[in-house]
C-alpha cells in the first residue's frame, strides 16, 4: 500500500497542483484562439459576431450555421480550393522529393568515405541555423533571373534540399549497423540497391519525423510564397488566409471559416500521426 499513498501524496502536493495549474493556463492560451475561431465561424450573424468578439461571448456558441463556410467555398475571387490544392502540391512535392534527396545525401555522409566529407557535414549542420528570410532576397533574384516566378517549382525546388532533414537522416543512418550494408554488399547489392532495399525500409521512423517536420514547416510558409506568387493560380493557403483577411469590409465569420478549413488538414494530420510527431520533436530535440 505504501507506493499508492506516496503517489496520492505526490499528486496533491502544492508543487504538483501548481504545475497542473500552469499547464492548464498554457493550454487555455493555446486553445482559446482555436475555440474562438471555431465558434465564430459557425455564427451566421455578422453584427452579433462583432459584438461577441470583444468579450467572453466569443467563446460561447450561438445558433449553428455553415453559411460562412458555404460563402468561402463559393468565393471566386479568393478560391479556397485552389489555395488548398496549391498548398498540397507544394508540400507533398517538397516532402516527397526531400525524403529522397536528403536521405541520399545523408547516406553518403554516413557511409561513404571521401575527401572533404567532414567539412561538408559541418557546413550542412551550420546551414541549419541560417534562416530562410536571410536568403530570400538573393534567392528571389536567382529565380527571377531563371523566369520561375509565379509557378509551383519556384516554391518547391529551392526547398527540397533541407539541411535539418539531412542531419536527422545522418544521425539515424549512423546508428544503423554497418554489417547490414556489408552483408548486402556480400550478397552483390550495389550502393543504390543497399540504400533503397535495405536502408530505406528500415528508416520508417526518421522518414515519418522528416515528413512531419518538413510538412508542417512548408504548410505554414508565408514569406517566400508571398514573394514569388502574384495571382491566385499558384498561391498557397498561408498567403490566401492573409489575403482573405485583408478584404474590406471584413467578414469575421468567413475569415474564421477560411482559417478553420486551412487548419483542418494540419489538425487531422497531427491527430493521425500524434505519436510519431511527439517522437519526432523529442528525437530531434533541436528545432520545435
Amino acid at each position: 500500500m505504501a507506493p499508492v499513498s506516496s503517489r496520492t501524496l505526490r499528486l496533491t502536493s502544492p508543487a504538483t497542483l501548481l504545475t497542473y495549474a500552469a499547464m492548464l493556463a498554457a493550454a487555455s492560451i493555446m486553445l482559446g484562439p482555436l475555440v474562438v475561431m471555431l465558434v465564430t465561424s459557425l455564427k451566421p450573424d455578422t453584427l452579433q459576431i462583432v459584438q461577441d468578439l470583444g468579450g467572453v461571448a466569443a467563446f460561447i456558441p450561438g445558433p449553428v450555421s455553415l453559411e460562412n463556410y458555404k460563402r468561402v467555398l463559393a468565393d471566386q475571387q479568393m478560391p479556397f480550393l485552389r489555395f488548398l490544392v496549391n498548398t498540397l502540391v507544394v508540400v507533398v512535392s517538397i516532402v516527397g522529393l526531400g525524403i529522397i534527396v536528403n536521405s541520399m545525401a545523408a547516406y553518403c555522409l554516413a557511409r561513404r568515405r571521401f575527401r572533404g566529407r567532414d567539412l561538408l557535414l559541418a557546413v550542412i549542420i551550420a546551414l541549419i541555423i541560417v534562416p530562410v528570410e536571410s536568403l530570400a532576397v538573393p534567392l528571389l533574384m536567382m529565380v527571377n533571373h531563371l523566369g520561375w516566378m509565379d509557378s509551383y517549382h519556384v516554391q518547391i525546388v529551392p526547398f527540397i534540399a533541407h539541411p535539418f532533414s539531412i542531419f536527422l537522416f545522418y544521425q539515424y543512418f549512423a546508428k544503423l549497423p554497418k554489417d547490414l550494408d556489408e552483408a548486402a554488399a556480400m550478397d552483390g547489392a550495389s550502393v543504390w540497391r543497399i540504400y533503397w532495399s535495405i536502408i530505406m525500409p528500415l528508416s520508417a521512423p526518421v522518414i515519418a519525423t522528416v515528413a512531419i517536420l518538413q510538412g508542417l514547416e512548408f504548410w505554414s510558409a508565408y514569406l517566400w510564397p508571398l514573394m514569388v506568387t502574384r495571382g491566385v493560380e499558384f498561391r498557397p493557403l498561408s498567403v490566401g488566409v492573409a489575403q482573405f483577411f485583408g478584404q474590406e469590409p471584413r467578414q469575421w465569420g468567413e475569415v474564421m471559416a477560411f482559417a478553420n478549413m486551412a487548419s483542418l488538414p494540419v489538425i487531422i494530420a497531427y491527430l493521425t500521426f500524434q505519436r510519431w510527431f511527439i517522437q519526432s520533436v523529442v528525437g530531434s530535440a533541436v528545432k520545435g
Binding site: 547490414l180 556489408e182 554488399a185 556480400m186 540497391r193
Partner: protein, 362 residues
C-alpha cells in the same frame, strides 16, 4: 570449392600499418581458423579476403585468379557475420533469397536453393518469419543459410558464435563442423576462442600484431608451439612459465637451472645463438605438472587457489621465482589453499623458450 593464396598481404590505414605482409596457402576444401587476441588483425585479414577492406599490398588469389580488385560476388565468397546482419524487414526466405535475386537468378532456382538450405539447417518451419521472431541460434542458422544458397567457393565466418550462449555455441559449432564435412567447401573462420579454433580447424593460423606467429594443425600448435606467444595463447588453462638459466650443454642437450639452482636435464638442443648462462623460460602444460605424478623432476610449490570443474580441479600455485603455475588434477585427493608439496613433471614434456621467446628445438 577453391584454394586461397595470400602472398605478402599488407594493410595500412594512412601511415598506420596493421597487417605486415602475410603469406598463407589455404588448400581446396580446407577449414582454416584465424585466431589471436583482440586487435591482432584477424578480422581485418578476413575482411580483406571478403572484399570489404581494400588490400594495400600483396596478392590475393582465389581459385587461381587474382582477386585484389574483384567485388565480393566476383570473388565467389560468402560471409557469416558476428552480428548475423540479417535484414530485419525481410522474412527468413527473403533474407536467404536476397543474394540470388541480386544475381538475377531464376525464380525456380531461388526457391530450390532456399528450400535446400532450409532443409540442411532445419529452418523449414521458420521461412516466413522475420528475424525478430527467431532465437539467437536460429538467426545464426539463417545467416549461414544466406551464405549457403549462393554456393560460394569460399565461406568466411567472422566470430559467428560470439553472441550465442554457452550451450548453443557448442551445438552450432558442431553444426558448422557437420556443414564443412557435408559441403566440403574451403572455410575461413575467425575467432578469439581457442576451443572453437582447436575443435573446428584443419589448420590454425595464430596472429599477433598483424603478423603470423605460427600455422599448423591444432595438435602441432598445442604440442610444438613455435614461440612463447603461441604457447601461452593455445591451451586452456594456459601454459605455466618458469624462469631458468642454461646450466650446461651436455652433448648438445641442455641442462637448465631453476631459480633455486635445482638442475633440470632436458632433451632440448641448443640453437646457434645459445650460450651458457643465457636466461630461458620453461613452459609446462597444466596436465604435465602434478602433485604425485610419474615425472622425474620436482618443483616445490604452494597452492594459492583451487578451482572445481566437476571432472577435474585446477590448482593454481607458486614456486620459487614463479607465480600462477597451473596443475590439472582429477578429483580424489583433497587439497587446501596453503598446502606445500613437491610437484612432479616429466622433463621430456616441458617446452623451452630462449630470451626472445622462440622455442628451442628438441
Amino acid at each position: 570449392m577453391a584454394p586461397v593464396s595470400l602472398r605478402q598481404i599488407r594493410k595500412s590505414y594512412h601511415e598506420l600499418s596493421v597487417i605486415h605482409g602475410i603469406d598463407l596457402e589455404i588448400a581446396d576444401g580446407e577449414f582454416i581458423v584465424f585466431v589471436g587476441p583482440s586487435g591482432c588483425g584477424k578480422s581485418t585479414l578476413l575482411r580483406m579476403i571478403a572484399g570489404l577492406e581494400e588490400i594495400t599490398g600483396g596478392d590475393l588469389t582465389i581459385d587461381g585468379v587474382r582477386a585484389n580488385d574483384q567485388s565480393p560476388v566476383e570473388r565467389g565468397v560468402a560471409m557469416v557475420f558476428q552480428s548475423y546482419a540479417l535484414y530485419p524487414h525481410m522474412t527468413v526466405r527473403d533474407n536467404m533469397a536476397f543474394g540470388l535475386k541480386m544475381a538475377k537468378a531464376d525464380r525456380t532456382l531461388i526457391a530450390q536453393r532456399v528450400a535446400e538450405a532450409a532443409r540442411i539447417l532445419h529452418l523449414e518451419r521458420y521461412l516466413d518469419r522475420r528475424p525478430s521472431a527467431l532465437s539467437g541460434g536460429q538467426r545464426q542458422r539463417v545467416a549461414i543459410g544466406r551464405a549457403i544458397v549462393r554456393h560460394p567457393k569460399v565461406f568466411l565466418f567472422d566470430e559467428p558464435l560470439s553472441n550465442l550462449d554457452a550451450a548453443l555455441r557448442v551445438n552450432t559449432r558442431l553444426e558448422i563442423a557437420r556443414l564443412h564435412r557435408d559441403l566440403g567447401n574451403t572455410m575461413i573462420y575467425v575467432t578469439h576462442d581457442q576451443v572453437e579454433a582447436m575443435t573446428l580447424a584443419d589448420r590454425i593460423v595464430v596472429l599477433n600484431g598483424g603478423r603470423v606467429e605460427q600455422v599448423g594443425t591444432p595438435a602441432e600448435l598445442y604440442e610444438r608451439p613455435a614461440n612463447r606467444f603461441v604457447a601461452s595463447f593455445i591451451g586452456s588453462p594456459a601454459m605455466s612459465f618458469l624462469p631458468a638459466q642454461i646450466a650446461a650443454l651436455d652433448g648438445g642437450r641442455l641442462t637448465l637451472a631453476l631459480a633455486d639452482g635445482r638442475p633440470i636435464p632436458t632433451h632440448h638442443r641448443a640453437s646457434e645463438a645459445t650460450r651458457l648462462g643465457d636466461p630461458v623460460t620453461i613452459g609446462l602444460r597444466p596436465e604435465h605438472l602434478a602433485p604425485d605424478g610419474p615425472g622425474s623432476a620436482a618443483l616445490p610449490v604452494e597452492i594459492q587457489d583451487i578451482e572445481y570443474h566437476g571432472d577435474r580441479r585446477f590448482l593454481y600455485a607458486s614456486a620459487p621465482g614463479a607465480n600462477g603455475l597451473t596443475m590439472a588434477i582429477p578429483g580424489g585427493r583433497p587439497f587446501q589453499v596453503g598446502d606445500r608439496f613437491d610437484a612432479r613433471f616429466d622433463p621430456t614434456a616441458l617446452h623451452v623458450f630462449d630470451g626472445a621467446g622462440v622455442a628451442l628445438p628438441v
